[in-house]
């Protein structure tokens, strides 16, 4: 996911949380990284979508490095080397 897209998504999430609308602009009192901490650590436990995206992408990296034998792996390996 490009940074541009995730920034835009986070903006939507933030506006929703603090109650922005077209007519009124509200203050975002707590920075987004803090909102994304777990509730026990002082946040609201909302997913940090950038980190979550990385975690999802890394699953492919994992499958590439372990025993997965899908066609996708052969394609990548013949294109970029193993």
């Amino acid at each position: 996911m490009p940074k541009y897209v995730s920034n835009k998504l986070i903006k939507m999430q933030r506006n929703f949380l603090w109650g922005w609308s077209l007519e009124t602009k509200k203050i975002a009192w707590v920075k987004w990284e803090s909102i994304c901490r777990s509730k026990e650590a002082g946040g609201l436990g909302i997913r940090n979508i950038q980190n979550f995206n990385d975690a999802l992408l890394a699953k492919w990296k994992w499958r590439l490095g372990t025993k997965d034998n899908g066609l996708w792996k052969h394609v990548l390996e013949s294109k970029y080397g193993s």
């Binding site: 707590v30 901490r37 509730k39 609201l44 979550f52 975690a55």
Partner: protein, 300 residues
Amino acid sequence: MQGLWFDSSFEWVLGDGKKVKFWEDKWVGKETLKSKFPRLYIISDCKDGAIEEVGHWEDNIWQWDLLWRRPRFVWESTMEKQFLLVIDGPRLRKEYFDTWKWKEDEDGIYSVKTAYKALQKTTEVQNNEFKMLWSTRVTPKAQILGWRVFLDKLPTKDNLLKRGVQLQHSLCDLCNAHEETTYHLFFSCRVTQIVWNMCDRWLGLCTVHHIKAKINFQHFHLFDFNSRQNLAWRGMWLAIIVEIWNHRNSVIFKQMKVDLIKIFSQAQMIAWVWMKHKIPAALFSYSDWCLSPHTCLKSL
């Protein structure tokens, strides 16, 4: 994607040595051999090979064939001995592939959940007061208000001024004597202190209230209550916070007169309503709650 967190979250499980790079992968200990033995790395003749290229099988026993560009100097030979000891640690296993073990999970297999947790870990410090706050049996709205009090992120006058909002004055509208800050408004204002004292007297206590929100909240418990009863009692803490905040807003925006009794009795009321709805064992009536809160809480 930053690869650093990924690389430090798995370790190699040695199999036939076909995939693991002898010098560049971490397969023995926490470091690569390249960074642990930089001198030997320089004179190595096989810098980017896999482990299987640095030795051979002889009657099912692995033998190292280390190739050096030149003979080792005397002072290097102790280093080489140490090096040989280190690489003899892990055993190669001919019949298995080299594979990865995910360190963040017990079964060693990658999961998005544990990876996300590892990525978030750097910013996370567990905090008991927050844990307690979210386990109270009150409305989410009250918990969110409590959360903002803990973090000092409410639109109090000092916070608004910090963000460049124009105000007529920065004094607390309840006492008109001090600048309105979170700490002042909720805990040290002479008006709200009376409310806390009312609460103490109601339960038959005499306590000192800490002016730091989180600590104040944590201290809001009784030793002869069990944890379930104290959790219910902490609902009263949030009820008072909610009512102070609502009252402050009514005074500012609806020109209402400051009414201490109202703050306290409203807090008693909503605390009871919350318990009624969120704690099945709370069977006592509102009048019982007002007359003998201690007995009511003990019944939980």
